[in-house]
């Protein structure tokens, strides 16, 4: 080869090789990025499934514990209170002193009230209650129980024709509602609770509103280690577990509104 030819060959060879090498690296990089996206999606899906499994187990354990606690209250404390009431009745009949009799009668009334409260609490703790009487009745019972304390005002309204969401969905919704109500009473110092349940043909929605002191929702959710933030996230995750969407709206001094909506196709119905 002469020098001119030599140069042409070198240029062609070098360019071709460089082009091929660059093309190869680009191809590998492209394939890697594609694989990486797939891997990330796969990992996220696995993590979500794992989270759901944990949450499901957590709910099952919680339900079981509550049921057991309810049963213990009913079978043990309830029985003891009944015996106590019987004894007080006997005592009331045997005592002749009017003053003492009045005190015994008063005690008897307190015991009766306690028995009624324990029964109500037992029902509230018992998941089967939701299964047997339905979501709305269970929720009404829960609010009634709170109202009976005479310290809180509660209200429940329903719209649309009620339908079953399936036991799994209803028990989760019931537990979420219990937690939201409990938060309103315990942390928000609310005095009025309004629950509205909307049964639409394609959508189910429950809104729990309180007149408590409210909180800075954005601030709480930003704080990863915040206990209350963890509780709220838990509520949201539980709603997601049944395919629902939970929105929390709260401002300091303006109360809190928690809304959970579920597409009917995602329910167990």
């Amino acid at each position: 080869m002469d020098s001119a030819n030599d140069l042409v060959v070198v240029v062609i060879v070098t360019s071709t090789l460089a082009g091929l090498l660059v093309a190869f690296i680009i191809l590998i990089t492209f394939l890697y990025q594609k694989r990486r996206i797939f891997y990330r999606q796969d990992k996220a899906a696995m993590q979500a499934a794992f989270q759901q499994e944990i949450l499901q187990t957590q709910l099952e354990v919680q339900n079981l514990t509550m049921q057991q606690l309810g049963r213990e209250l009913h079978d043990n404390i309830g029985q003891l209170l009944s015996v106590l009431r019987l004894n007080l009745n006997v005592l009331e009949e045997t005592v002749e002193d009017e003053g003492t009799r009045g005190q015994i009668a008063e005690s008897n009334q307190i015991v009766e009230q306690t028995i009624a409260d324990v029964r109500a609490l037992t029902k509230s703790l018992d998941g089967d209650f939701v299964k047997d009487f339905g979501f709305i009745d269970s929720l009404s019972h829960e609010l009634q129980r709170i109202r009976k304390t005479r310290r809180y005002q509660t209200e429940i309204t329903t719209s649309g024709t009620p339908y079953s969401l399936g036991y799994q969905h209803e028990i989760v919704l019931f537990r979420i509602a219990q937690e939201v109500i409990n938060n309103a009473l315990k942390h928000a110092a609310a005095t009025t609770l309004t629950v509205s349940v909307m049964y639409e043909p394609t959508n189910f929605e429950i809104t729990i509103q309180d007149n408590g002191k409210g909180f800075d929702f954005e601030g709480v959710m930003k704080n990863e280690m915040s206990k209350s933030g963890a509780g709220l996230r838990n509520i949201q995750r539980r709603a997601e577990l049944i395919g629902g969407k939970c929105t929390i709206d709260s401002q300091k001094g303006l109360g809190t509104t928690v809304t959970i909506s579920i597409q009917r196709t995602q329910t167990g119905d």
Binding site: L20, L21, F24, I25, R35
Partner: protein, 207 residues
């Protein structure tokens, strides 16, 4: 000596210098790769001297290539942590010794069997490395993986080498000289690119 030999030695020297400058920032696998480059540089320089002085340098390549191969192998071993990589190095050594003793005798003939086997094993390492990367794609970018650049370089170089050797094997006596010149050029330039990828590995930011 042709001009492209100068560029070749310059790239090698540049790679070695950068390796020593960047040594403390390199991963263990990259350090082994760097030492492999040092041996390659020594091999090439010694080979050139032997060629100029004695007109023959097969002995140098037969002796030093296994060391290059081993260092590159350890480099992949450190990254992949697979026992079979070590076994493949041992297998290559046994084959190379047997080849030099019985088939392509030491100093007489170019040990192409050993070279081809080294290329095949090296290609398997590279493909396995890429497979592991693709199996567990945790790195944000491929360019932050310690051996990505050399892996691409080796895959490319080995593919070119195999094509060149295969083509040379098919040429007859009358076409061999012309074909050799072009194919040699292709191989030389692909090795230029291979050592540029080494250089890239030394200057890259490791994760």
């Amino acid at each position: 000596m042709k001009w492209y030999n100068y560029t070749y030695y310059t790239i090698l020297l540049f790679g070695v210098v950068i390796f020593f400058i960047r040594y403390k920032y390199l991963t263990v696998s990259q350090r082994y790769l760097g030492f492999a480059l040092v041996v390659i540089f020594i091999t090439e320089i010694t080979g050139r001297i032997f060629r100029e002085v004695y007109g023959k340098n097969i002995v140098i390549y037969s002796l030093l290539r296994p060391i290059q191969f081993t260092l590159v192998g350890i480099s992949f071993l450190k990254e992949m942590k697979k026992k079979w990589v070590m076994l493949s190095i041992i297998f290559y050594f046994l084959f190379h010794i047997t080849n030099l003793l019985y088939f392509q005798k030491f100093g007489d003939i170019y040990d192409s069997y050993s070279v081809n086997l080294a290329n095949v094993i090296n290609t398997v390492w590279c493909l396995s490395y890429l497979y592991l990367i693709f199996e567990n794609p945790v790195a944000d970018s491929l360019f932050e993986l310690p051996l990505f650049w050399p892996t691409c370089g080796y895959l490319f170089f080995n593919a070119v080498t195999m094509i060149v050797f295969a083509t040379l094997g098919y040429t007859n006596d009358s076409t061999f000289n012309n074909a050799f010149e072009i194919l040699h050029l292709i191989r030389v330039f692909s090795s230029h690119f291979l050592y540029i990828t080494f250089f890239m590995a030394f200057i890259q930011k490791n994760k």
